[in-house]
């Protein structure tokens, strides 16, 4: 893989993981460098969501074998909140509702936590308001959202835009995007893609999990990996996504099975 001389931000070696003793990831190797956007594609049930949830530290998931290094540190030994403060961000596929928790308070608590960890001062109320309203605007969201409860009564598209809005606000190093494009109409998809493009840069890395290549028309990946049955069966450039769009996943699945039989 390319990226010579650049700092690897995330390294997965032989990662095996699952839920309740059922192995879903069956040995994943992957390296991301700063400045790169990687897309993980694959059919339903291939383990895409498991991959990003394991990396973010979701408690239900179990790691059976393998190693994950984030900026040289053993990521799997850190609790989820510490991973987040260290700069790992997960945009959820299905963001949960938090009854009674106002969006403003939530964003304030999250921003305070990551800023404190980075040795930055707490923002004044005024600066916070300015910053958060700027990020809301960038994602086409009204300031009225700040008075609402987190994700409660948000439409599917609003939830996804809210996730990317948090990405821009918290400004992590590594963004894990779990099917952030699913269920979006074309306008919302463009907004979300714009947000991701605004985030990407030489000091950032993105791992974008998606079912469809549609979003890749707006977010140009540097690398595309195909995950089937818990293994990366093919890696390539953007053209791989287009090939998948034309041919589907079946040929890769068959190739992978043939490869394993040999």
């Amino acid at each position: 893989m390319s990226g010579d001389g650049k700092e690897p931000v995330l390294v997965l070696r032989g990662l095996r993981a699952g839920v309740g003793g059922v192995e879903i990831l069956k040995g994943v190797d992957l390296t991301l460098h700063l400045g790169e956007v990687h897309a993980i594609m694959g059919p339903n049930g291939s383990g895409k969501s498991t991959l990003v949830n394991v990396l973010a530290g979701k408690p239900d998931y179990e790691v059976y074998a393998g190693e994950v290094y984030y900026r040289g540190r053993d990521l799997l030994s850190l609790p989820p909140d510490e991973r987040a403060r260290e700069g790992v961000f997960l945009a959820f596929q299905y963001p949960v509702e938090l009854p009674g928790v106002r969006l403003r308070e939530f964003l304030r608590a999250a921003l305070d936590a990551v800023r404190e960890h980075r040795g930055l001062e707490k923002l004044s109320v005024r600066d916070f308001n300015r910053l958060v309203q700027e990020k809301l605007r960038e994602m086409g969201m009204d300031a009225e959202f700040l008075k609402r409860n987190v994700n409660e009564g948000f439409s599917g598209g609003e939830k996804k835009r809210h996730e990317i809005m948090q990405l821009l606000l918290l400004d992590p190093t590594l963004a894990l995007l779990d099917e952030t494009d699913s269920g979006l109409d074309i306008d919302a998809l463009k907004l979300v893609a714009q947000g991701i493009n605004r985030f990407r840069g030489p000091e950032k890395a993105v791992l974008l999990v998606t079912h469809y290549q549609r979003i890749l028309n707006y977010v140009q990946p540097d690398f595309v990996h195909v995950l089937i049955d818990g293994r990366i069966v093919a890696s390539g450039g953007r053209e791989l996504a287009q090939e998948l769009e034309a041919k589907g996943y079946e040929w890769l699945r068959q190739a992978a099975e043939a490869g394993r039989r040999e």
Partner: protein
């Protein structure tokens, strides 16, 4: 290697940061001998320089209480060893420097002023608490009442009830026991016999009380029970917001607190009553803590009157209280907003009664119960619609939140409807803090403890927003402290 050291209270072995109000105030006190008999009641009455009618009322209450056989009621879902009512001190009063009862703010022992400062209740008016008038009650007596002058100019009476008995006997005689008669229940009878102080409020017709009135209750003496009595009367077209806060030192033994609160709202009057109950809850193993057995009831006597109870109950080993409203006047409104949190081995059996008698009376009940540790939390509520209450409406919402797997929540709603025009809604939920919610917050860098606090705070929002501004900050802090040790 020696174990890591934390600040541990020598008396109880519990970490002091968990109950920072747990210090003892070092003031000399006038303490009656333990036990209860007619002589003790005469002693209390004499100490208070009471008129004879008051003594006779107490004695009637005592004789009624004695006839109950010294056996406390058993119907609530609470468990405790039998209480030895002869092992309690029924009167304890701090002395001023000259050994007499303090008469003015200047006479108060500086030690006592410092202690109330530490509790966040400054007694000096120049350090006024965001414009709140305070009546500070230590053990059996009121030690200071602030802003009395300013209130007097408006005709508002805000004073210790012992003072009201002497200065305003016509009001006290008319209303004391009119909402909670001494025959009401075991603890109300006990309180009526031995109550030593508490707060009296009278707001004259058409007056809107310009500041919140607050009583701060503090149990200090080791063997003392606290039996305060509060009586609030809002005359026609008046409004008053009343706050109540309570703490006690860390003691190994259980302490008894049995208060009675009576509210009376006349035509078009409104009383808003808010409580932050933070009595010492006992240690992690359930040793010590206050038994909080309280009778609180208001009557909407007049048309268009309103009584609203808001309570946040985080303290006490056992809480047993049902702030209620009798809706007698037509179009009157009763409200009950409650958060009850139990942790460790705390028990709470709390709720309300809404008794609809007048036409078009409305009541709202919002009860949020949080159980953690080995806590037992019961909501018990009665909505009673009498035949005369045409067009009565009630809405009840009752939510329970469980933290961990060793606690429990129980809901016991009673409905008695004797008028076919009544409309009643009841909603109830029980939930656990979900791992999904915790993970979502933690994936944003928020610690598990803070994440849990945010979820619980969100759960309570509908009640917290009813609290006056002065309590909002304190409630957040209290919630954090009460949830300590529930993570992990």
């Amino acid at each position: 290697m020696p174990p890591a050291r934390k600040v541990i209270s020598r008396q109880t072995g519990i970490e002091e940061k968990e109950y920072k109000w747990g210090f003892v105030i070092p003031v000399p006190a006038d303490v009656a001998p333990k036990g209860l008999n007619e002589d003790i009641i005469r002693l209390i009455s004499r100490k208070k320089e009471e008129p004879d009618w008051m003594l006779q009322w107490r004695l009637r209450a005592y004789r009624y209480w004695s006839s109950l056989g010294y056996v406390e009621p058993k119907w609530a879902k609470i468990h405790h060893p039998p209480i030895d009512f002869q092992d309690i001190v029924y009167y304890a009063a701090p002395l001023s420097r000259d050994g007499d009862r303090p008469k003015t703010l200047d006479d108060i022992d500086p030690e006592l002023k410092r202690a109330f400062d530490k509790l966040g209740i400054p007694l000096e008016e120049q350090k006024r608490l965001a414009g709140v008038a305070v009546d500070a009650v230590l053990d059996s007596v009121s030690v200071a009442t602030t802003f009395q002058k300013r209130l007097e100019e408006l005709g508002i009476i805000f004073c210790p009830i012992s003072e009201a008995i002497q200065k305003h006997p016509e009001l006290v005689r008319k209303y004391l026991g009119s909402v909670v008669p001494y025959t009401d229940n075991f603890y109300a009878a006990l309180n009526s016999a031995v109550f030593s102080d508490g707060t009296f409020v009278y707001v004259p017709p058409g007056v809107r009380c310009p500041m919140d009135l607050m009583t701060y209750f503090r149990i200090n003496e080791a063997e003392a029970g606290q039996f305060e009595r509060t009586l609030i009367i809002a005359d026609r077209g008046s409004y008053v917001s009343y706050l109540e806060g309570c703490t006690a030192p860390i003691r190994k033994k259980h302490q008894l607190h049995a208060a009675v609160v009576e509210l009376i709202a006349l035509d078009d009057a409104e009383i808003k009553y808010s409580t932050l109950q933070n009595w010492y809850p006992g240690d992690r193993e359930g040793r010590g803590g206050v038994y909080n057995f309280v009778t609180k009831r208001g009557i909407c006597l007049g048309r268009n009157s309103k009584i609203s109870w808001t309570q946040v109950e985080t303290g006490s080993a056992i809480t047993w209280k049902y702030p209620s409203v009798i809706l007698r006047g037509d179009n009157s409104v009763g409200e009950f907003y409650s958060v009850a949190l139990v942790n460790n081995y705390q028990q709470a059996d709390t709720g309300t009664k809404m008794i609809h008698m007048g036409r078009n009376t409305r009541s709202t009940i919002v009860a949020k119960g949080i159980s953690a540790g080995h806590g037992q939390n019961t909501y018990r509520g009665l909505v009673k619609i009498m035949p005369t209450a045409d067009g009565a409406r009630n809405f009840t919402r009752c939510d329970s939140l469980l933290i961990g797997s060793k606690c429990a929540a129980h809901t016991v709603p009673y409905l008695e409807v004797r008028n076919p025009t009544a409309r009643i809604e009841h909603e109830a939920t029980t939930s656990k803090i979900s791992d999904e919610q915790l993970f979502y917050l933690m994936s944003r860098g928020i610690s598990e403890e803070e994440a849990q606090y945010m979820i619980v705070h969100g759960f309570c929002r509908g009640v917290f927003q009813e609290l006056p501004f002065e309590f909002a900050m304190e409630v957040s802090q209290l919630l954090r402290v009460s949830l300590e040790g529930t993570v992990g």
